[in-house]
């Protein structure tokens, strides 16, 4: 590895040096204080769990957002990029997770829009062994090819630092190999690569060094080849001892509830060989009285899985049986009638934010009412009151749901199903962005619901939740179930390994 990419700067200065970067969005601190040092001629990985601050750091480096504090220096010179266009002038070329290509323009128009040299991009694409019609609309080009096009566009600028954000996530393996070849070439000619990925194997294969983020700060810079996956995972998780202690304390309440669980309830929801979108043949059963966890990294098919079960998205293949009857949901209405209800992560997606708590809770009930008859307000009032009671919803701001706190909104989304009745509840990251106290109430609530005979399917991005709430956990990777882990054994290290597709556990 040479350090020839330094240009007129002193040879000792790193190609990119970020120090003390901080960024908060309102009260949420996305990045506390991150340092990153990328040397010329190296492929450097940026790692961290969901929410550790990776994407925020990338956005700061590429001028998409501006830091609250901290400095960024390229070749030893401090830079302040106010926009992605400016960052490009400093030799930083990002390939974002979502390709920066405008759907309604043709490929060639997209390139001209950014002032890229169309012929240079074509040459780069050919070098990648790819060809495509540049007069095609970007929206007609398949996603993997768009990513490669974005990469070729970035390369055509001869960048000193190529930033690849999750580029391999949607690529078939032959294209991923070509990306790795590009990374090697970039390093050989003295440039550098910042490689962001969830796939630890790729990091070990391609990157000399890796910086690991946790809770918005850089915790370590290591050589992945030496420590291997276990070292990376332990840095990503941090002080496990503390987490374990907390978990033990919480588990007590959960296990109490478990004692009341009906043994081996009937199957409430059976999914076999389900396909569609990123989901590639998923099978499982959830029984009454059971909480089944689904753990996965971003984009492994969990979104589509839940959307298909909830009737929001058409099923590509396979069967779903709910309560003993085959369910072919074309619309959420069908799923709800079959007793399958959905609690999404984005609460405002499910609620009517400007209406009252009562109306929100009662809304799904209207499905079951006689179509034209008057609504029995007294009955509705009783049911709603019962649901609010059961969930301890703080109703001080009940006139408009949007004024409630996130945690209370989430309780309302669950409460509405309590009032209308259900057999299986699909919870997609129900505790995202809510405080610890409310989270605990949600866990206890899910256990209570199971104890009363409901079946619950729970996806969560917080791995610590699984051993607390779930009886079993399935991990998804690449649209398939990679492992089934008993709830008690689902600690973060085990889950992470299976989520990265590393362990070959029985599905």
């Amino acid at each position: 590895m040479t350090s020839g990419g330094g240009g007129d700067a002193a040879p000792a200065s790193p190609l990119l040096h970020a120090e003390g970067l901080r960024k908060s969005y309102g009260p949420v601190i996305a990045l506390r204080s991150a340092d990153l040092r990328v040397e010329p001629g190296e492929a450097h990985a940026l790692l961290g769990a969901n929410g550790a601050g990776k994407s925020t750091l990338v956005k700061l480096l590429t001028g998409v957002v501006r830091p609250d504090a901290g400095t960024i220096a390229v070749h030893g010179r401090p830079v302040r990029a106010a926009s992605p266009a400016e960052a490009a002038r400093f030799g930083l070329a990002p390939v974002f997770q979502d390709p920066a290509l405008v759907p309604d323009l043709t490929v060639a128009q997209n390139l001209r829009l950014t002032g890229a040299d169309v012929d240079a991009v074509r040459t780069r694409l050919r070098a990648l062994d790819l060809d495509l019609d540049f007069t095609e609309l970007a929206s007609d080009v398949p996603l993997p090819l768009l990513r490669m096009l974005d990469l070729a566009r970035a390369l055509s600028r001869d960048p000193s630092l190529l930033i690849l954000d999750e580029i391999t996530a949607a690529l078939p393996s032959d294209l991923a190999e070509r990306v790795f070849a590009v990374m090697r070439e970039q390093c050989d000619r003295g440039g550098s690569v910042l490689f962001i990925t969830h796939r630890l194997k790729e990091v070990i294969a391609t990157c000399a060094r890796a910086t690991i983020l946790r809770d918005g700060g850089a915790v370590a810079t290591i050589a992945p080849r030496e420590g291997g996956e276990s070292e990376i995972v332990s840095h990503m998780l941090g002080d496990q001892a503390v987490a374990a202690e907390v978990a033990k304390a919480e588990r007590v309440t959960v296990r109490e509830a478990e004692a009341e669980r009906p043994a081996d309830g009937e199957v409430a929801l059976a999914v076999s060989d389900l396909r569609g979108g990123a989901v590639d043949g998923v099978s499982f059963e959830v029984r009454r009285g059971e909480v089944l966890g689904i753990a996965a990294l971003d984009g492994q098919g969990q979104d589509e899985l839940f959307a298909m079960l909830a009737g929001e998205q058409g099923v590509g293949g396979g069967t779903v049986v709910a309560g003993g009857k085959p369910l072919k949901a074309r619309h959420p209405f069908d799923a709800i009638r079959a007793g399958v209800v959905y609690v999404p992560a984005d609460r405002l997606h499910a609620l009517l934010p400007q209406r009252s708590v009562r109306e929100n809770i009662a809304a799904p009930r209207y499905n079951r009412l006689r179509r034209w008859g008057p609504i029995n307000m007294a009955d509705e009032g009783r049911r709603v009151a019962r649901a609010i009671d059961a969930l301890q919803v703080d109703t001080r701001a009940q006139r408009q749901v949007r004024r409630l706190s996130g945690g209370n909104q989430q309780k309302v989304t669950i409460a509405r199903w309590l009032a209308s009745g259900f057999d299986t509840m699909l919870c997609f990251d129900p505790t995202r962005g809510i405080d610890v106290g409310t989270k605990r109430q949600v866990y206890a609530l899910l256990r209570d619901l199971a104890a009363e005979g409901s079946a619950i399917l729970l996806f969560s991005s917080e791995l610590a939740e699984f051993p607390l709430v779930c009886d079993r956990v399935l991990t998804l990777y690449g649209g398939r179930v990679t492992a089934e882990i008993p709830g008690a054994a689902a600690d973060e290290a085990t889950l992470l390994e299976a989520m990265h597709g590393l362990s070959e556990g029985a599905a």
Binding site: V64, S83, P84, A85, A88, P94, F96, D98, P99, A100, L101, V102, P103, D104, L105, Q109, N110, R112, L113, T114, G115, D129, L130, D131, L132, D133, F134, T135, E136, L137, V141, P142, P144, L145, M148, P172, D174, L175
Partner: protein, 335 residues
């Protein structure tokens, strides 16, 4: 292995299926225009002559201009509800001052008003970008503000325009008597103001910010500046519309533009521009402006009651847009 490569670039041959896929709507609206024109011709009892074409041009020119401006804004992902009042303002400014002018100074003054329109549009755009208030609200406010200005300039209809200036729209023809100069002016403005920018970075940026603002930003487009430019276009085209009104009517009327605010949106929608932005062109809206004008003319000839004429015009817009939408959805299903 090039398993993922697509079909090779076409070597100069025109892919007609793709032309239809991308420009189907424009083709459709032009066909509709021709059909209406033929129907119009067959439904008149007196022999159909150059005079009819000229009168169509006179009627359609203001709407065509303002629809072009509205199309640019809607393509860029916004909407401009202030255009009607801006037309009125330019109309009264022109009629009040031009009456005493010679032809040359009237033309120069008219160009000045177009620049003024562009400036007013830029201010509107800048207010939207800087304050972050929704475009629909800012331009609605603009509708009232500019409408007030027009009334301040001229309380009651009045003023005049030099006859030679008027005849540009009402009498002159180019080459044959069948080609009114109004159409030539329309196409000239289209070529000058739109063809020059459409394929350049500015034009692409207008489409880009309407198509997907975040991606355009990530691709390095200066989003705020481009939005302001879109409203400047709209202002300039609205001013041209106001001048066309002045030439057509020969007087200034502070309420003359009011019907054009929503009619411009109607023409844009009928012309195949997506209200969501990023899709469409200016030829479609121009053709749609002619169609909407023709429909009115035909119904007057047929002696349809004015009120029913409105109902028919509204229904036509909904039906055409619905058929277009169904066709697009059908395409999505068959891939």
């Amino acid at each position: 292995m090039t398993s993922t490569s697509l079909r090779p670039p076409l070597s100069g041959r025109i892919d007609w299926r793709r032309v239809v896929r991308r420009h189907g709507w424009t083709i459709g609206i032009v066909v509709l225009l021709v059909a209406f024109a033929l129907y119009w011709r067959s439904s008149t009892s007196v022999p159909w002559g150059p005079f009819d074409v000229q009168s169509l041009a006179i009627d359609a020119l203001p709407l065509a201009f303002v629809a072009m401006g509205q199309a640019v804004v809607i393509i860029s992902g916004g909407v401009d509800l202030s255009v009607g009042s801006l037309m009125s303002l330019v109309n009264v400014l022109a009629a009040k001052e031009m009456a005493h002018m010679g032809y040359t100074s009237a033309i120069l003054y008219a160009l000045g008003l177009v620049v003024l329109g562009a400036l007013i549009g830029s201010v509107t755009g800048a207010v939207i970008v800087v304050t972050g208030v929704a475009d629909i609200i800012v331009t609605l406010a603009g509708l009232f503000v500019l409408g007030g200005c027009a009334l301040a300039v001229l309380q009651v209809p009045g003023g005049a325009a030099p006859l030679r200036f008027q005849s540009l729209v009402t009498l002159d023809t180019v080459g044959t008597r069948w080609l009114p100069s109004a159409f030539v002016i329309l196409l000239g403005v289209y070529a000058l103001l739109w063809l020059t920018v459409r394929r350049r970075r500015l034009g692409l940026a207008l489409y880009a910010i309407g198509s997907n603002r975040d991606r355009a930003y990530l691709a390095g487009v200066k989003v705020a500046r481009t939005r302001i430019v879109a409203y400047a276009f709209s202002g300039a085209f609205a001013a041209l519309g106001g001048l066309a009104l002045t030439a057509a009517s020969g007087i200034g009327d502070p309420n003359s533009g009011s019907i054009y605010t929503l009619n411009s949106v109607a023409a844009v929608v009928l012309g195949g521009v997506s209200l969501l932005g990023g899709v469409g062109g200016l030829i479609g809206p121009i053709a749609a402006a002619l169609v909407l004008t023709l429909v009115k003319t035909v119904m007057i000839i047929k002696g349809v009651n004015q009120n029913w004429a409105q109902v028919i015009q509204g229904s036509l817009i909904v039906i055409v847009v619905m058929i277009g939408g169904l066709a697009i959805r059908q395409k999505g299903k068959t891939g």
